[in-house]
């Protein structure tokens, strides 16, 4: 349908980010819901997330959600308007732009926190 151009990348990244977000949602729900098990269990689990890889991973998750969100809106526009498919390529660059804004915000707020060693 897209002849291996932008649309194919949009589709591939949508699925990849979707799987990543679902995995994160499962991990996040189980971690946060551990408040049920009491303060020490919650504390023990969240001690792990102070590791650098998890703190950086959270920025990646925010980026994945932002991309999936804006590309999802692109899909809705293509499906429910008469003009969406014609401009799908431009809409994809727009969704990358908006996702980029969220990623820059996440980086701008979090990198100083991580470097501050909190």
């Amino acid at each position: 349908m897209y002849k291996g151009n932008e649309g194919q990348w949009a589709f591939f990244l949508h699925r990849l980010s979707g799987i990543a977000i679902l995995l994160y949602l499962i991990l996040h729900t189980v971690s946060i819901s551990s408040v049920l098990l009491g303060e020490s269990a919650y504390g023990a689990i969240h001690e792990i997330y102070k590791l650098l890889i998890f703190r950086l991973g959270l920025i990646a998750v925010a980026g994945a959600v932002a991309y999936h969100s804006f590309n999802g809106l692109r899909i809705v526009i293509m499906d429910f308007t008469g003009w969406g498919v014609k401009y799908q390529r431009q809409l994809w660059y727009a969704s990358l732009f908006f996702a980029g804004i969220v990623i820059v915000a996440a980086l701008a707020y979090n990198i100083p926190r991580i470097l501050g060693g909190e």
């Binding site: 679902l22 729900t29 946060i32 819901s33 925010a62 969100s69 429910f80 915000a105 926190r113």
Partner: protein, 136 residues
């Protein structure tokens, strides 16, 4: 097989069943709602706030707020349903030639998602004691 349509009219003609068409509509409606719910959640609780500040006491206090409970319930329910159906599309495409793999992949994914949903709902329903308020 997932619907590969580019309009509601196409989707209706391609859908093999009414549930398939209903899921197609659900993905677009829930997706649009989730864009707002999730991005707001991420900015409010993560980007503008240090994630390390979410200790047990702060979680317990936020879980005492009924509007917050409702918000999280919507996020959890819509998010997991959207994710479960998305995984169904992916599994259907990946196991087009293998019925046994398809069955087990769906069984495992849906059981996991169901269990997480129950655990998440429990944390919202059960009262979490706030240190210093509900417990000494």
């Amino acid at each position: 097989m997932a619907i590969k349509a580019r309009s509601f009219k196409d989707a209706r003609s391609q859908a093999k069943s009414n549930p398939e068409l209903a899921w197609w509509v659900f993905m677009r409606l829930s997706g649009t709602a989730l864009v707002v719910l999730t991005l707001f959640h991420i900015f409010k609780n993560y980007i503008f706030v240090d994630e390390a500040s979410w200790d047990y006491e702060k979680i317990a206090s936020s879980y005492a707020d009924w509007w917050n409970k409702l918000y999280l319930l919507a996020l959890l329910g819509l998010g997991l349903m959207h994710g479960a159906n998305g995984m169904r599309y992916i599994i259907d495409d990946a196991t087009a030639k293998n019925r046994v793999a398809r069955f087990w992949a769906k069984a495992i994914v849906n059981t996991l998602i169901g269990a997480v949903f129950v655990f998440g709902i429990l944390a919202l329903v059960v009262k979490i004691p706030i240190p210093g308020v509900d417990t000494p």
